[in-house]
């Protein structure tokens, strides 16, 4: 159990999220932003910056708070409860972690304080059509040009990109992957948005001879690969926390409905068939909570890459599975009203869908977990197998 200042800090953080969620955001606002080219609200983003949230994972020397994923998860989960579309996980976790882990010190000193202040919103552009989730399986090319690079290719599935000020782009150079900082207004860079199930967007970034001077090379080769791997794991853990926030609220709504909806002269929650379904959802939620707590604590102890990846995959798989189950069942437990756009249950299902698909679904992560842990197993099993 954690004690001391961090417990106090976490309690304060949780209070500030509740306060923010009740005053700063509501579902009507979320509905208005669905499918718009704005995607989210920069004014609100600035308020989040003022609360210090954007700098939770940024070291103090770059103006951040230098806290851990446990703290970031408190904020992410609280915001996800209210379905806030602001790209906390995309910008303040995925892109921010990649930049923090990059090795261009001057770039970091310039951009990270601006990120923390909400003045500069970054998005990580690392995926492509064909490559899946392997950061090295990309075709976008970086050809040397006056000490920097000239970029060509198409990056896809960029989270939080609608109002992004800059992209961290991966491309293939002669001697490996490079991670490049590309301001949005860079000539030859064109962004298009595709609307997601939950009304947010993925960006597609088309690069035609876009120039990244030497000062914009964030990291190269092994350093770039390591930065991407870390960012991927951190963002998956926070996506898991968001899924937890989604399932919390979706299950609350379902339970409230079971207690108040009357059919056959009784609240439908008195029927055993529905009670048992509700119990199963509750158990899935509690298992997910337990794994989330344990995994965040493990990740905050900064384990080596393989253990970190295993922990991130475990928690993402569990939370994706549980949130999808709980939000799908929320529709069924509500009956026809659950299938209407007016009713909020569907919004939770759609958020769960997009969060689960983003950065790898449950099956993908379980397979990765199996690969990562297969090497580590051995003696224990054999020893116990010795007995009948």
């Amino acid at each position: 159990m954690s004690t001391g200042p961090s417990t106090e800090h976490r309690a304060l953080l949780a209070d500030s999220v509740v306060d923010f969620a009740t005053r700063g955001t509501d579902i009507a606002r979320v509905r208005k932003l669905r499918g718009t080219s704005a995607e989210y609200d920069r004014t609100l983003w600035t308020k989040m910056a003022e609360l210090g949230w954007l700098g939770i994972l940024v070291p103090e020397r770059y103006g951040g708070l230098g806290l851990g994923l446990t703290e970031m998860a408190i904020v992410a989960r609280g915001l996800a409860r209210g379905l806030a579309p602001e790209p906390l996980a995309g910008a303040a976790v995925l892109a921010a972690s990649a930049l923090v882990a990059a090795d261009n010190e001057a770039l970091k000193r310039e951009q990270l304080p601006r990120l923390v202040a909400g003045q500069m919103l970054p998005a990580l552009a690392w995926q492509e059509d064909a490559g899946g989730l392997d950061p090295s399986a990309i075709r976008a090319s970086a050809t040397p040009f006056e000490g920097g690079y000239k970029l060509n290719g198409v990056k896809r599935f960029i989270a939080g990109s609608a109002q992004a000020d800059a992209f961290l782009v991966t491309a293939r150079a002669r001697d490996g992957i490079v991670l490049l900082w590309l301001p949005r207004e860079t000539a030859g860079a064109r962004l298009e948005l595709e609307t997601l199930a939950d009304g947010r967007a993925f960006g597609t970034l088309e690069l035609k001879d876009a120039l990244a001077p030497k000062a914009q090379v964030a990291a190269s080769g092994a350093a770039a690969a390591a930065a991407l791997a870390l960012a991927f794991d951190h963002a998956n853990a926070i996506a898991a926390a968001e899924l937890a926030g989604v399932m919390d609220r979706a299950l609350e709504m379902s339970l409230d409905y079971l207690k108040t909806r009357v059919q056959f002269g009784k609240p439908i929650g008195s029927f055993q068939a529905l009670q048992h379904r509700a119990v199963d959802l509750h158990i899935h939620k509690e298992v997910a909570n337990a794994v989330l707590e344990e995994s965040l604590a493990a990740l905050d102890r900064r384990p080596a890459a393989a253990a970190r990846a295993a922990a991130a995959s475990r928690v993402k798989a569990r939370c994706a599975e549980a949130a999808l189950k709980i939000t799908r069942e929320a529709i069924q437990l509500h009956g026809a009203i659950g299938f209407t756009d007016d009713y909020d249950a569907g919004l939770y299902l759609k958020r769960a869908l997009t969060l689960a698909a983003w950065l790898g679904g449950a099956t993908w992560h379980r397979r990765r977990y199996l690969r990562l842990t297969a090497a580590a197993k051995g003696e224990g099993g054999r020893e116990k197998g010795g007995a009948r």
Partner: protein, 382 residues
């Protein structure tokens, strides 16, 4: 006498581990059925001689007086080593109930004999028409002078043929509302009029019995608690026992075997199988995280609530699915009785499957556990 609670956790763990590794009979590690008294007698004797047979009992009654945290360590080390559960109902159930509700004479008589193994207890609760609905039990006890006269039958009485005594729920007031006319008796199985009939289970073992009572005269001083207050007595067991049932180590043997067989046969190269395997393995590991939260609660000295039922549902249902996949992994060999060799790995495929089957029935079925969670945790209407 050592104050175990004052010992650092890791020292205590080491001591328990060393003891079970040295003294627990090797041939009884990870056995796949309930251990019988003749197998466990010498181990019981060693535990008793050391004063370790009753970790949960206070020291004044001859127990170890462990606090909850130390008790978890004790059980974790026993489970880790694959120690079978002896016929321990006297230690886990009836002993604590006698301490709480029994007379001084009952304590003086039964407690030392329960510790020594002279009294081996079995539980007379279920009846043919009172299973999940236990309060509808009909076995009757009528007062006749200094005795109760008991008539009726109990069923699913585990290891009754190993036991010397049975603790019994009987109806002493037929007019009262269900739960209110029940009393709790301690009965010597040698009393005339008692007949045992073993029942063979799916695994082919005679683990449980039917127990018939035909005008059995039981002394009145074997009544525990007040007359017609037996339900309160039986219900008084702590939630702590329910934590043990949901321990993630229960399915460990099946998981180890499944992993070994899957590796030996190259099954993990088949992505369909690998997906099912890793999902189950994570169900166990993630269930262990849930278990860990309840453990922390116990260590902080907080009582466990009704929500601990979810642990039993999750662990037992996952355990069953594991044993199902183990049989599938064995293919034709998976349905051959006894130990089979698969690519150099020795595995008993069927026994884990049978062993896990009643886990969702005993100790309150999964459905009853869900009812409990719906009512007390989710507060759904009835």
């Amino acid at each position: 006498m050592t104050d175990w609670n004052a010992m650092p956790d890791e020292d205590f763990r080491r001591e328990v581990r060393a003891f079970v590794e040295r003294d627990y009979p090797a041939q009884l590690r990870f056995i796949l059925q309930r251990a019988r008294w003749h197998e466990m007698k010498s181990w019981w004797g060693k535990l008793h001689a050391r004063g370790w047979i009753a970790p949960n009992w206070p020291r004044e009654h001859g127990g170890m007086g462990l606090d909850a945290g130390k008790m978890l360590i004790y059980f974790e080390e026993f489970e880790r080593h694959g120690c079978a559960r002896p016929p321990d109902q006297g230690i886990t159930q009836v002993g604590p109930l006698i301490m709480r509700f029994g007379t001084e004479a009952q304590k003086a008589h039964y407690l030392p004999r329960t510790l020594s193994g002279e009294c081996i207890w079995c539980q007379g609760y279920s009846e043919p028409n009172a299973g999940s609905d236990l309060a509808s039990l009909q076995t009757a006890a009528v007062i006749d002078g200094d005795h109760f006269v008991v008539n009726g039958q109990k069923i699913w009485t585990s290891l009754a043929d190993d036991a010397t005594h049975i603790y019994l729920l009987v109806r002493t007031d037929k007019a009262a509302k269900q739960q209110q006319g029940i009393s709790f008796l301690l009965v010597d199985l040698k009393t005339p009029g008692i007949t045992l009939r073993p029942i063979t289970n799916l695994a082919g073992h005679g683990e449980f019995c039917q127990v018939f009572f035909d005008n059995v005269r039981v002394p009145r001083d074997t009544l525990v608690g007040a007359l017609n207050e037996g339900w309160t007595v039986a219900k008084a067991l702590l939630g702590f026992e329910r934590l043990g049932i949901g321990s993630p180590r229960r399915p460990q043997y099946a998981l180890n075997r499944l992993e070994a067989v899957a590796c030996a046969k190259g099954l993990l190269d088949d992505s369909g199988f690998a997906d099912r395997f890793i999902a189950l393995k994570l169900d166990i590991e993630d269930g262990a995280a849930l278990y860990g939260r309840f453990v922390e609660q116990v260590k902080r000295g907080e009582p466990l609530g009704q929500d601990v039922s979810m642990l039993k549902i999750w662990t037992m249902e996952t355990w069953q699915r594991l044993t199902e996949l183990l049989i599938e992994a064995g293919a034709e060999q998976g349905v051959i009785a006894g130990v089979q060799e698969v690519a150099g790995v020795e595995t008993d495929f069927l026994s884990p499957f049978y062993y896990a089957r009643p886990a969702t029935i005993y100790g309150g079925s999964s459905e009853i556990q869900r009812n409990i969670l719906a009512k007390y945790v989710l507060k759904l209407p009835s």
